[in-house]
């Protein structure tokens, strides 16, 4: 009852937005589709929610074909599009009531499923959705997407434009929903959210670059990575990029993530080189790769 995607391709205005995409989401899995804006995440979501036809390939959601059985899918999935699609001029309760009605159910009938989430916004149930904060809109949109007890939940960039506290709470909610037996496919441009999924697919320019558990993806990073810092960030970056043995140089917060093209790399050599470039307070030490490092290595 999960999702199965095989060889899906899609073009839009002569630009290929999805290239031969295949992967499976297991029943009851929390699966992340990780990639920047324009990678094709939304297009794939729209194909899976029967809003677009694929040009090539087939896909099933909860056992139903996305082309042939679209009516069945529309009854069985919950979909939260990119922007929180709520009626701004309706109150919190009216929004929820409306979505319950069009799915042929009532708030009371499925209250236990949304209770966790809805109690947090219930004190504001008479407030218009347009006047809610980003975090509250997100919770309301999720409640609306869940009100008919879907088997599969599609969340397209649910955490974009939401503050860190709400983001954290949101992921906690997803974990609890998963325990209730719902299969969840979530997309996000934030690499740090990948670690919260059971498995992730890294997507860029319509291509899936890697599919695995977050731990495995990080473990597969081919080279040792070094955190490098010095007193002047700009000079440090330009010097490292001029270094003949560099494999990759990426600023990474207060550090630069550096990999070397040689297998027998010795940090001392780099230290000397940087000193020769008049850099001061140099620090070099090995660090763990992140999903973002993997993403960049694959996208290179």
């Amino acid at each position: 009852m999960g999702i199965s995607i095989s060889n899906i391709s899609k073009s839009y205005k002569n630009v290929k937005t999805l290239h031969d995409i295949s992967f499976d989401v297991k029943p009851n899995e929390l699966f992340g589709l990780i990639g920047p804006d324009g990678a094709g995440k939304t297009t794939l979501f729209r194909i899976l929610t029967t809003l677009l036809f694929p040009d090539e390939g087939t896909a099933t959601v909860a056992g139903f074909d996305v082309v042939g059985d679209y009516k069945e899918i529309r009854k069985n999935v919950g979909y939260m599009p990119g922007r929180f699609s709520l009626y701004q001029d309706l109150t919190v309760e009216e929004n929820l009531n409306f979505f319950a009605t069009i799915f042929g159910t009532t708030i009371d009938e499925n209250y236990d499923l949304i209770k966790d989430i809805y109690v947090q916004i219930e004190p504001f149930k008479d407030r218009r959705a347009g006047k809610l904060s980003g975090g509250m809109k997100q919770k309301l949109a999720l409640s609306c997407a869940l009100i008919h007890k879907p088997k599969v939940l599609f969340l397209d960039e649910p955490t974009t434009g939401v503050d860190p506290v709400s983001r954290k709470e949101f992921w906690e909610m997803l974990k609890r929903l998963q325990q209730k037996g719902i299969t969840i496919l979530v997309s996000t441009p934030y690499m740090d959210e990948a670690a919260l999924c059971d498995r992730v697919a890294l997507i860029q320019d319509g291509n899936i670059m890697e599919i695995d558990t977050p731990e495995a993806i990080v473990k597969h990073y081919p080279k040792p990575i070094y955190n490098v810092r010095a007193h002047n960030m700009y000079q440090l970056i330009t010097s490292l990029k001029d270094y003949e043995f560099n494999h990759s140089v990426y600023p990474f917060g207060e550090f630069v993530h550096y990999t070397d093209s040689r297998t027998d790399f010795k940090p001392m050599e780099l230290q000397h080189y940087l000193e020769s470039k008049n850099l001061k307070n140099i620090e070099i030490h090995e660090t763990d790769a992140t999903i973002e490092d993997t993403f960049m290595e694959l996208a290179k």
């Binding site: 009516k71 529309r74 009854k75 309706l90 009605t101």
Partner: protein, 381 residues
């Protein structure tokens, strides 16, 4: 005894549908600005056309050049002076003065009675008055001429009452159904058409495209709601509002402008509902081709309002248009509706005289509905 049960699924379908319509009414009543336009516009337009943009004239200054100075001309002059439409500002004596009074802008018209007016009338049963008007404002000039004609006719009738051979001052009459030349009578059908068209088509197309812009259309599409339920749900509230609008317009014209509705009110109502549905179908069609509220509004205004004003015969008579435009005017639903409205309101005729126009309108409606259902997508592309 067995009580017939409504199948459960039909009940839930109905509930869905009612829930949808309820939501639409929330939107309408919470958007104060649109609501104001919805109900303020008809009233403002009717009042504007009724009072401000009027073809009626009052106390227009005129000059008289009487070459005859006999009993008949005096009676006619008195009649004109007695009407509230004209006031005689000057009596001039020479043809040469005509140009100068116009140049000074003192009068809008000069009446020039020929020499031996009375004598000619008795002898030849025919006499001539020259009506010279200042045509820098052609509308007013035209109206003045019409009014003077009307007064002369009136006078003629009185003359002919007790004389067997008719005296003829001015031939032919031009005013049939609106003898008082009340311009508001001509405008009411046009304004009603514009309002119903705009409210129905523009408001529906905007409300559908708003869902596209908000992204809620995506959720509606992914829900078990069927496309026709979404469309009908969008349309029902506006049918309701448009009917209220039509009633308001008719009431305003009856009670404020004392315009009589000669024909059947029920027929008027039914024809209006037909036209409302035509317009709603057009609105849905517009929403299928526009992605944003702004585009929908522009298309509604440019694509619907302009043709209605220019080509429907509302302001410019179709018979005086060049041939190509006359042909184009046939595809404008508003043209047929205005003909129907005028026939019912002013002529008081029944269905037997307007079945052809009604049928044309009905055909257009079916066509638009079919087209918009075909174009309305259950998917995003």
């Amino acid at each position: 005894m067995k009580i017939k049960e409504i199948p459960a699924f039909a009940g839930s379908e109905m509930k869905r549908f009612i829930g949808f319509i309820k939501k639409e009414f929330y939107h309408i009543f919470r958007d104060r600005r649109s609501l104001f336009i919805l109900f303020g516009m008809p009233i403002a337009q009717i009042l504007l056309f009724g009072f401000a943009i009027t073809n009626e004239i009052n106390n227009v200054d005129i000059a008289i050049l009487d070459h005859s100075k006999d009993n008949t001309t005096e009676e006619i002059i008195n009649k004109i002076a007695a009407s509230k439409y004209f006031s005689i500002k000057q009596l001039i004596t020479r043809e040469a003065d005509i140009a100068s009074v116009f140049q000074k802008g003192q009068v809008k018209a000069v009446l020039n009675f020929e020499k031996d007016f009375s004598k000619n009338l008795i002898k030849d049963h025919k006499a001539t008055i020259q009506v010279i008007t200042d045509a820098t404002d052609p509308n007013t000039a035209n109206t003045i001429t019409n009014y003077i004609n009307a007064i002369l006719q009136q006078y003629q009738k009185e003359l002919n009452k007790d004389i067997t051979i008719a005296y003829q001052i001015i031939p032919q009459t031009r005013m049939v159904y609106n003898p008082e030349l009340k311009s508001v009578y001509m405008f009411v059908p046009g304004v009603m058409t514009i309002i119903l068209m705009l409210v129905s088509a523009m408001m529906t197309s905007i409300s559908i495209t708003r869902e596209k812009e908000l992204g809620t259309m995506e959720i509606l599409l992914v829900s078990p709601l069927r496309p026709f339920q979404v469309i009908i749900g969008k349309v029902v509230p506006y049918i309701f509002l448009s009917i209220i609008n039509a009633i308001v317009i008719v009431m305003l014209s009856i009670f404020i402008f004392n315009m009589p509705v000669q024909g059947s009110l029920i027929l008027l109502g039914l024809e209006s509902v037909l036209f409302i549905i035509t317009s709603l179908a057009l609105g849905i069609l517009i929403s299928t081709i526009s992605a944003t509220q702004q585009t929908a509004m522009m298309i509604s205004l440019m694509g619907l309002m302009l043709p209605v004003i220019l080509l429907s015969g509302f302001i410019f008579p179709i018979s005086s248009m060049p041939m190509p435009l006359q042909i184009i005017s046939n595809i404008i639903p508003a043209k047929w509706f205005i003909i129907i409205l005028k026939a019912i309101m002013l002529k008081g005729v029944g269905m037997q005289f307007i079945w052809k126009e009604t049928l044309i309108l009905l055909g257009m409606t079916v066509f638009f509905i079919a087209l918009s259902v075909k174009k309305y997508k259950i998917r995003l592309e």
